[in-house]
Structure formats: structure tokens, C-alpha cells
Symmetry: C2
Subunit: 377 residues, 2 copies
């Protein structure tokens, strides 16, 4: 399959695999697709180590990174910023989260970082200086794409990437976002439908993809959301996409680092068991429904805070919940969740990421041939 | 294009057109697709007249009807039923609707039916005796499909249809609904994604269609929701559907009887301008967002009532709003809305329904051929 995407990225198949696990990124790239590492959760030193490992695995084959690069921020000094953000978290919200941990009897792990430290790391990563430090690391590796998941990239990021021969991709959930991204000079648009995991809008992939294709000119558009099989990949190509951007499907891979307890919840879930919620990041993001969401829906529960306050509020808590749920703690398991799209309903077993990628491509090719024959039937 | 659907229905193209306007139904059938009349809004006499007209237009080509046939109902006597239902509508709800009409200064049209009469007609149509009367009319015409939009069809409907050589279709919004429909003996499943207009679930077409295909065996599955172009039709076929069920796209046809003021709002709308709301029928249905929804979102607004109480509450009001909005009344125009899917964002002009159908089929065929070539590129 040759598309505008395979040409631009120099890959065999129009399949982009987005994940926070270096082993998934390497497996997708080595299967002839294009792996993209979700870098925002790492410190600069961690990211450097992850990318070194990927470099060794892929032997020169292309891959990219994804960051949350904010276009602007109210405060310029990161030290003041973290403290001032921390002060903005209401006591009511802290009390709500603490009471929930008590109610579900989630233990404090002996080895966990203090929650304020986690919270500060989150604040640091989401501000421009933090994103800049991650970018410096990323640009010191042979990446060929930098993707930005929240809003248009700053002009200097686009200039810096283009000067280095690196393409810029952006995720969009509505046509008006795509217009802003095109004006900002991005090279690849990812039209992410509401069925996708993580931050999503309300428009479905079937509708959003052709809307974005219609205004993108010769820039490749990838479809994202609802794509975990070769048939769904073929459907995306039918909608005019030059390829697909898949995130959720890799959470059914053996290499994915999501806690095993959460992955087992994914395997048991149906496609109706996700929801868009602001309770983890402060922005609507699709995730598996759990007791966590029931608690925020109760009468008297506070409203989630905006980004980055909500992740600062709940980041340390999630470390406790994940740790306890990994030990089989019932309360923590009931609360536990992670970002996932509606394709979770199709998960039946954990498999190697490379096998998933190869099967998607071969099933897609078979479906495309069948569709060609259908036209003449 | 030959699929399990074209074979079962004896049509040229796997394109089903669902609409309440007889002229749209006839145009789709005459273009080589399959027209389905939404019959629930008509009295038996009205339906008989509409079907007579269609019979004359299609000259023996196949078409079907869609009804809301409830599986069971608490009260058996329709006279008692209407009165008892009417008594269940809280005074608070009546006051809310009346105040809204006052606030938007919606005039009472001189020729309108009393609101209680409208309300009673709605109650009568949604109860088993009312549905039975419509079915009797439908079966007296040469229909070849009866579709049921809400829940599994009663066993006697399936038996009666099959005895007459008529196939039964059902709309489903989740895999578990599809399982119940298969158990009830339906012949065609319509997998309706969340992006569709009217009653919808939360799962998108990209995910729902293959889920339903996987359990349907040799029974044809149609994809619905997000399908208004040939590319979207091709995507549905890629997902394993044997054809498409389109509703919203016909609201951009010249023949569609939706009030002109509403159709003009559709032409101006974007794909993000719809929402799922219980405020018209009592069940979540996708429709164009308007001042109506803002009012129900206000603090202190009542919760919508269940079906059939909510349509009984608001049915007469909508007649007033539509009538005034057709005259250009600003308040009524602000409130006015109708069921529509996210594809509304692609509407640019009103066109003949037959042209829409023919263009969808030819664009779909072209896309399928291109996909076949892509597989070998």
C-alpha cells in the first residue's frame, strides 16, 4: 500500500502506532509501520533512556515522539508556576480524593514518592519549560516526526522541526481545530473521532475524517478512533485517510506497560463500557468506566478541575491505586482505570504488538481487494 | 454491487433510505435503492394514503415501512391508557414548557389542533393497539420489509411478517441489543452508531458495525450513522456491512417534509452542532442543538420524562414552534430543531433525493475500485 503517508514517512504500511511503551513503538516500526512514543509522562532523563533503547531496536527505521506542548501559559517562571498551581487546588477536592481512597481502603505503598512530588512533576511536564526539555531530548535522537496532542504547536516548534527535517503532526477533534493546525504549518493531521481513547471531541471518525480530508489539501490525514482491525483500517482509507493512527489497540499487546490489573479489565470490557470524562486530566478523555467515575457522579461530588490542576490533584492517587490494584487489592481494582477507546470491546487476549500490526495490515489488504471486487460484482 | 442485502431485498444497490416523506421513499426506491417510510407519526388513514401514493410511484419496485412497535405495555385498554398516561405528566413539566413558549413569545396558530388532542394521538400511536392498526394498513400494501426501531419486535409481528413473505429489520445500538433481536428472529440488523440522528446509543459506527457483523451469521447487517456520501458508504462495506441504512442525508433533499426553517438550520450547521438529548422523545436521540436544549440545561429545569410521557408533553408545543418558525418568527426559529446525525455538517444545498442516492452509489463504486487498486500499490 502506497499512500501520501507512506511516502512522507518512508514506511511500508500506512499504520502509525502510538503508545507510551518503548517496546510497542519499536515493534510497530519493525513491523513496517511507524511507532510514536507518548513522551509527556517521562522526565527528560527517562525519555533519553527510552529513546536510546528504541534506537537500538529499530536499527535506523523511522519513529517519532508525541508531546503535550502548550502554546501559551500564564506564568513564565516554572518554579513559581508549580507552587502557584498547587495553591489553586481547593481543599474540597483534596478532601474528596482522600475520602475516596479511605472508602476503598487503598493502602499507601511503602516505596511511593510523596504525592506532592508527583504532582509537581506533572505540573513541570505540562509547562513550556518542561516540554522544551523533553523536546531537546527528542531532537537529540533520530526521530522523524513530532506530534502534538493538545492544540496547535508553537511557531518555534514547527520551525525547529522543519529545520531538522522532522515532520510535525497534530491531533484534531473538530474541523475548526484542523483549520488552526493547518495555519500553524503542521504536515500531518490526525482526525481523532469521539470513539478514540484519551482526549477526544464529540464527532465520530466516520464524519470527522472526510471533513478534515476536505480541507487538508495535499497534507496527509490519518484517521484515529475506532481502528483496531484490518477492516477498520480499510474503512479509514475509504473515508479518504492516507493512513491510520492507532492508540488503544496496543493496550492489548504484551509489551504495553499499562498495569496488568487494568489490562485484565480491558479484556473483560465491552464497547459500551467507556466514557468521556474530565476526572483524570481536566479535559474530556475517553477511558474505561470504573467505580472512580461513579464517585464523581454522586450528588455533592465536586466538579473536576481544569488541566493541569486535575492531573496534579489525582496523579499521586493514581500511583497508589495502580500499585494496590497490581497486588490484587479489591478496592483499588474497582477504582482502577486508564485511557481506552471503544475498540476495547474487541480485545480477547494479549498478543505481541508486532503480530497485531502485521495482522491489521494483512487483513486490511485482503479487505481492500475484496472491496475492489465488490465494485464489479 | 451484489451483497447479501441486495439479494434479500431484490434491489440494485445496497442503499436503504429511511424517511417520513413518501416522495423520498419513492425516489430512493426508483434510484435502485430501497426506501423505508417512517410510519409512526401517521394515523392509519394518513398512512394508507401515503402508501397508496408510493405504490403508484414505484410501479412494483420494493419498499418497506418502519414502525415503533412496543414489545409490551403496562395497560391493555387504549382508552384508559391515554388518560392514565396524561395524568402522569407533572404540573411542573407543563408549566416549564408553557413558560418557555411565553419566554420565546411563540404564538398560538389559529388552525392548530388542541394540544391534548395531539398528545392523545401520540399516546395512541405508541401503544400496541395503535401500532397494530398501522401494521394492518402497512400489510395491506405490497411492502417487503417492516422495520422496528425500538427494542425487539413482538413474536406475533415476526410470525405475521414471515407468513406474508416480508422481512423484518431492527435497529440496534449495542451488541447486547443485537443478540436479543437475533433471538427474536429478525432478518436484517441495522447497526446504528452514536453519530446517527434520532435514537442512538453511545458506540460509534466504526466499532458497532463489526461487533454486530460478528454475531449475525448469514443475516445481513446494515451500517447506520455517519453515512451520507459514497466514501462513507464504502467505509461501511469495509466494516463488513452488507449495505447502509441512511436517514439524515435525506433531510438535505428537496422532497423531505421537514419544515423549511429547520432545513435551513441544518444547512448552516456543523458536525459538532448536534447532541443526544431525551427532551423530545424521552429516550436519548440525536438532534440539532438549539435554544430548546439550553433551556432544559438551565439550573432548576425539570428532568425529561420517559417515553411516551415526554412526547405527549412536548408534541403540541412542537406543532406551535414549527408553525411559527415556518413564518419566520425569531423565538420559534431559535427553539426549533429536529432529529439529525453528525453528517449534517456536510450539508451544503437541498437536492433531489434521487440525485443524492445516485451520487452516493457512483461515488461508492469509484472509491471501492480505488481501494482495490490501493491494495496492490
Amino acid at each position: 500500500m502506497h499512500t501520501a503517508l507512506t511516502e512522507l514517512l518512508g514506511v511500508e504500511h500506512p499504520l502509525v502506532g502510538f503508545n507510551r511503551s518503548p517496546a510497542v513503538v519499536a515493534a510497530v516500526t519493525n513491523a513496517g509501520g511507524y511507532g510514536v512514543l507518548a513522551a509527556s509522562m517521562y522526565t527528560p532523563a527517562e525519555l533519553d533512556a527510552q529513546l536510546h533503547w528504541i534506537d537500538q531496536q529499530v536499527a535506523g527505521r523511522p519513529y517519532g515522539v508525541d508531546l503535550l506542548v502548550p502554546e501559551k501559559f500564564a506564568v513564565s517562571d516554572p518554579d513559581d508556576l508549580v507552587a502557584s498551581l498547587r495553591a489553586q487546588i481547593p481543599a474540597e477536592h483534596r478532601a474528596f480524593v482522600d475520602a475516596l481512597l479511605d472508602e476503598y481502603e487503598v493502602p499507601v505503598p511503602a516505596t511511593a514518592a510523596p504525592e506532592d512530588e508527583t504532582s509537581d512533576e506533572i505540573a513541570a511536564a505540562i509547562n513550556p519549560a518542561g516540554a522544551e526539555a523533553l523536546l531537546d531530548v527528542a531532537f537529540s535522537h533520530p526521530i522523524s516526526m513530532v506530534a502534538n496532542a493538545l492544540g496547535p504547536p508553537p511557531a518555534d516548534l514547527v520551525e525547529r522541526a522543519h529545520a531538522a527535517g522532522i515532520v510535525v503532526a497534530s491531533l484534531v477533534g473538530a474541523r475548526k481545530h484542523a483549520e488552526r493546525q493547518l495555519a500553524a504549518g503542521v504536515d500531518i493531521l490526525v482526525a481523532q473521532g469521539t470513539e478514540a481513547g484519551g482526549h477526544t471531541g464529540t464527532v465520530a471518525t466516520t464524519v470527522l475524517t472526510p471533513e478534515v480530508v476536505a480541507i487538508a489539501g495535499d497534507r496527509p490525514v490519518l484517521a484515529a478512533g475506532g481502528i483496531a482491525t484490518g477492516d477498520q483500517m480499510a474503512a479509514a482509507l475509504a473515508l479518504g485517510a492516507a493512513g491510520v493512527w492507532c492508540g488503544s489497540v496496543w493496550l492489548s499487546s504484551e509489551e504495553d506497560i499499562t498495569p496488568r490489573a487494568v489490562k485484565e479489565k480491558f479484556l473483560a470490557a465491552g464497547s459500551s463500557d467507556t466514557l468521556r470524562s474530565r476526572t483524570i486530566t481536566g479535559k474530556p478523555a475517553r477511558q474505561l468506566r470504573s467505580a472512580w467515575h461513579d464517585a464523581w457522579d454522586r450528588p455533592g461530588a465536586p466538579d473536576p478541575l481544569p488541566l493541569p490542576l486535575q492531573p496534579m490533584l489525582v496523579g499521586g492517587m493514581w500511583e497508589r491505586v495502580h500499585a494496590a490494584s497490581a497486588e490484587g487489592h479489591p478496592g483499588a481494582t474497582a477504582l482502577d482505570t486508564y485511557f481506552i477507546g471503544q475498540v476495547v470491546g474487541g480485545f480477547s487476549a494479549l498478543r505481541p504488538a508486532g503480530d497485531i500490526a502485521r495482522e491489521m495490515v494483512s487483513d486490511c489488504t485482503r479487505r481492500l481487494r475484496a472491496l475492489g471486487e465488490l465494485a464489479s460484482s
